[in-house]
């Protein structure tokens, strides 16, 4: 894929450095919000910059050497964005983490309860009942930023886990990656859905139109999965993702049917109703619960990761509804 268009001075500098191969000037760059987007979580320039830098660990870019992945100046700039961004998220999620820590029940019960506590955007209901075809396709394009690389970030956690949690994550990922059948790879199923709607399914194709809040969801996934210190949060994040998938997927599949979209669209969401009913149990009971049992000190991190997913996903959902002129 090609490097996406810049959105401000940070991404401009990164793009120039990737093109020239000379990155030392990046060491002088300060990371800060702008008057219209003071929080890094909402800042277009920061979010596209992070997305570009994380992509060096996935597919990379045309014309950019693979070795750029570990360039110290690029890594250093990424950390100068990642750290304050995660601090912003910790502040936003702290009330939910504190409540989950103090609640009754075992880890699994409290994690499922936290998922119920963090409010979501009524996006799936809108897609089910009222969305126009154009709104639905806009939704698919925004979501393609993640779904064309679905489950890739979580794979980075495998070497960072042990025992039952490692085996359960491998089990979950095996299903996400088609259970041995390339045509059932979830990334492929989403690409099939896009192509059936005559929407380009090349990875990264729709990144340039992705809102900062959409990029934030994937960037947080990458941040958590790529840092060993954050693995408990990465698994809490995964648990919340899986635990909020089946019901919305049911609604979205119904919406695709209502609009008469090609069968491949409902097929993607139907697969997720069933698959994620399994995956949420694996992620909560067989990944997160054993992690915390082995190291109780990581319990707040698991809750933080879960709340961070729910919070960022809700922001992205509200943004889309606002963009479509739908009152939340």
């Amino acid at each position: 894929m090609r490097v996406p268009r810049e959105r401000g001075p940070l991404s401009r500098a990164i793009t120039a450095a990737l093109r020239s191969g000379s990155t030392a000037a990046l060491d002088e760059l300060a990371v800060r919000g702008t008057p219209d987007a003071p929080e890094l979580a909402e800042n277009d320039d920061v979010q596209i910059s992070l997305w570009i830098l994380y992509q060096l660990h996935y597919d990379g870019f045309d014309g950019v050497a693979a070795e750029a992945e570990w360039d110290p100046s690029l890594i250093g700039l990424r950390q100068r964005m990642e750290r304050p961004l995660l601090e912003e998220l910790r502040r936003a999620c702290a009330p939910y983490v504190e409540k989950a820590m103090a609640a009754d029940g075992d880890l699994s019960a409290r994690l499922f309860e936290l998922v119920e506590q963090v409010p979501g955007a009524p996006l799936a209901q809108h897609l089910q009942r009222h969305a126009t075809r154009n709104q639905f396709l806009d939704f698919l394009r925004q979501k393609s930023v993640y779904h064309l690389m679905e489950s890739d970030p979580q794979s980075f956690a495998l070497p960072r886990l042990r025992g039952r949690a490692k085996v359960a994550l491998a089990e979950l990922q095996y299903d996400e990656f088609g259970a041995g059948r390339p045509e059932r790879l979830h990334q492929r199923l989403f690409a099939d859905a896009l192509e059936a709607c005559e929407v380009d399914a090349c990875p990264g194709e729709h990144v340039e139109e992705a809102a900062a809040t959409t990029l934030l969801v994937v960037n947080v996934m990458s941040a958590l999965a790529l840092n060993r210190a954050l693995v408990p949060a990465a698994m809490g994040h995964l648990a919340a993702f899986e635990a909020t998938s089946s019901e919305p997927s049911r609604r979205i599949a119904a919406g695709a049917g209502r609009l008469g979209l090609p069968a491949a669209v409902a097929a993607y969401y139907d697969e997720h109703v069933e698959a994620d009913a399994v995956h949420e149990q694996l992620a909560v009971r067989e990944i997160c619960a054993p992690l915390v049992a082995a190291d109780p000190a990581c319990e707040p991190e698991v809750f933080f990761g879960a709340a961070a997913y729910l919070h960022t996903e809700a922001s992205a959902g509200h943004d889309l509804l606002t963009r479509w002129g739908v009152a939340a």
Binding site: E116, Q125, A179, T244, S246, R250, E274, V278, E280, Q281
Partner: protein, 78 residues
């Protein structure tokens, strides 16, 4: 194994009950539901509905959570 949700056949079937949720089944090659219909298993782990509310019998579709939410008097989920 057999039970309310049906029978699972396979060489080495392992079942885990999720509290207030589905049965996780590993090692099954097919599942026979309460009406006798046979469903091939295509996943490494499947979740069999135990609340009888699923619209995708015999597989769990998360409806047990909607019921739990209703019991607690909460608004509809996502």
């Amino acid at each position: 194994m057999s039970g309310r949700t049906g029978e699972a056949a396979g060489a080495d079937v392992a079942v885990t009950a999720c509290p207030e949720g589905p049965l996780l089944v590993r090692g099954a090659t097919e599942v026979r539901d309460a009406s006798g219909a046979v469903h091939p298993v295509t996943r490494p782990v499947v979740a069999l509905c135990t609340c009888a509310l699923t619209q995708r019998s015999p597989w769990c579709d998360g409806m047990h959570k909607a019921r739990a939410r209703g019991r607690k008097g909460r608004a509809t989920g996502r």
